[in-house]
Symmetry: C2
Subunit: 306 residues, 2 copies
């Protein structure tokens, strides 16, 4: 048994109870704690020195990123974040000012997003800084957007531009909280996820959960300027498909709503691009179409296009 | 600025919002998410290889302990645990069976306590296993027991026996969930905490939060058999005061309720000792009285008694 098989096996045998609306496997867990008009969202996410940041990363940006990743998951459910706990594992010798600056960056983003920091702990983690954020949010009862609702014929949309996040954006991205709530309030969004592992990595989560496939139009996929600037390292279109940490929203809606959505969006969020990149089809997996024909993306997100 | 000063400073400037009933500084955060009859409890706790367990610790007991520590904090608020998220940081080379067994131990305790495991993540933590648990619970609105309610004249009680936990109990302790809920339902409990850092370390949290002092009767403090067996390493009474990880309940109630509590407790929980160990007094700090007189415990919990 390898580690992925193990984790899949573990996920199947986890204990549950009557409070659980949606357990492991979506962007957040959804719980019913008896609030008449709301459900509770629950999420944790960790960043580790040497994996998600380095000791050269400005500490304010480390703290900001740690919280922003969790906020992006709340956004992907169309929820509102409420309160967070911060766990920091620290090497035995650490610089209190560095840790203070991590908190400053985290606290500034929390304040701006209306999130209370209600505690947490510092503990020892010899060798490296480890930050785990636990975040609670709420969503209007019945308005939570899961990964599992995509339907054949749906239009597939993505916010912003994709690829090349490691150059800068992964430390400064804006969780799409306002946009996601607005979407869920004004349109029947069928399925949604935030892009943490790239379009080729995360769209399959929607497809598998919904039992459908997708056909993407190559020319419609918004490739970021950062990905284009790094063309010598990686072909920009490949970067847009496979680079992680874009933290944009990927969602599907009925195709009849697509034009109205694009029109309304431009007025509401004139500064943030919204692109219709393809459609949900019967079957499975991702097919990419350009003027020369259609090609299936393999399961690991490897891109054949040059 | 040292690390403790830093953390105290950070805790003062954390962002808050109208959902926060009790923020950082008690056993759990208390939130009002609009459930008519309930408040929400929110807690995280981490265990780290080489700090809280070793690679020789049976993995089932590592998982069990990670969750039990959080459950003990929910107990200290007189709450009911509902759902947990599990974050595991793993070295690059790890044994999937070992990790599976951690989950087994954690899952078995969760199931027995009615807690749903609703997700989490595994991430890389080079060098050592790091487990962080985030736990949500509920408590009847107005029935949450804080650290800050102790009043002059209160009787001070502790469950079980204290000291020597490292020999065995720290891996097998039973979170006092049922006992704490029963206490809060049947008696006006003024203040409560779970003993993670020893009586001399944790009673001051109640005293400071409540603005009072305590006088303990040396002969009334229940010293565990494990502490007595390790008398050559550490005087048993010192162990009972300063050893960590007992995870018993420490609480105060009006002295007029003390006799009735002891009588009722014996019938309800005949197997678990309950001891009245002293009283809340005006002033601050802990005074310990024996037949030779009274002596003040210094702030670091160092014990002068042999």
């Amino acid at each position: 048994m390898n580690e992925f098989e193990l984790i899949a096996k573990l996920a199947k045998s986890l204990p549950t109870n009557k409070s659980v609306v949606t357990g492991a496997g979506d962007d957040c867990a959804v719980l019913d704690l008896g609030t008449p008009d709301k459900l509770v969202l629950f999420k944790t996410d960790a960043v580790v020195e040497g994996v998600h940041f380095t000791i050269e990363t400005p500490p304010e940006k480390i703290g900001r990123k740690a919280l922003a990743r969790c906020l992006s998951d709340i956004a992907a459910m169309a929820g509102t974040p409420v309160a967070a706990l911060v766990t920091i594992g620290l090497p035995e010798k650490f610089d209190p000012e560095f840790v203070g600056n991590i908190y400053d960056g985290l606290g500034a983003l929390a304040r701006r997003c209306g999130v209370a920091i209600v505690g947490g702990e510092t503990t020892t983690n010899p060798g490296r800084i480890f930050i785990s954020i636990a975040l609670l949010g709420t969503v209007a009862r019945g308005k939570q957007v899961l990964r599992s609702g995509a339907k054949t014929g749906d239009a597939i949309f993505v916010t912003g531009e994709l690829g090349g996040s490691l150059a800068e954006k992964h430390l400064e991205f804006e969780p799409r909280l306002e946009e996601a709530r607005w979407l869920a309030e004004h349109f029947p969004i069928h399925a949604m996820i935030d892009l943490s592992d790239g379009l080729a990595g995360d769209l399959p989560h929607i497809l598998k959960a919904s039992g459908v496939g997708a056909e993407l139009l190559k020319s419609a996929i918004p490739v970021s300027r950062a990905a284009k600037l790094q063309a010598q390292k990686k072909p920009p279109f490949a970067a847009a498909l496979t680079d992680g940490e874009d933290f944009e929203l990927l969602f599907t809606i009925a195709s009849r709503d697509a034009v109205k959505l694009l029109d309304t969006w431009k007025k509401k969020f004139p500064k943030l691009k919204l692109s219709c990149i393809g459609k949900i089809i019967a079957g499975d997996g991702i097919t990419i179409r350009d003027k020369t024909g259609a090609q299936k993306l393999n399961t690991h997100g490897y891109v054949h296009f040059a």
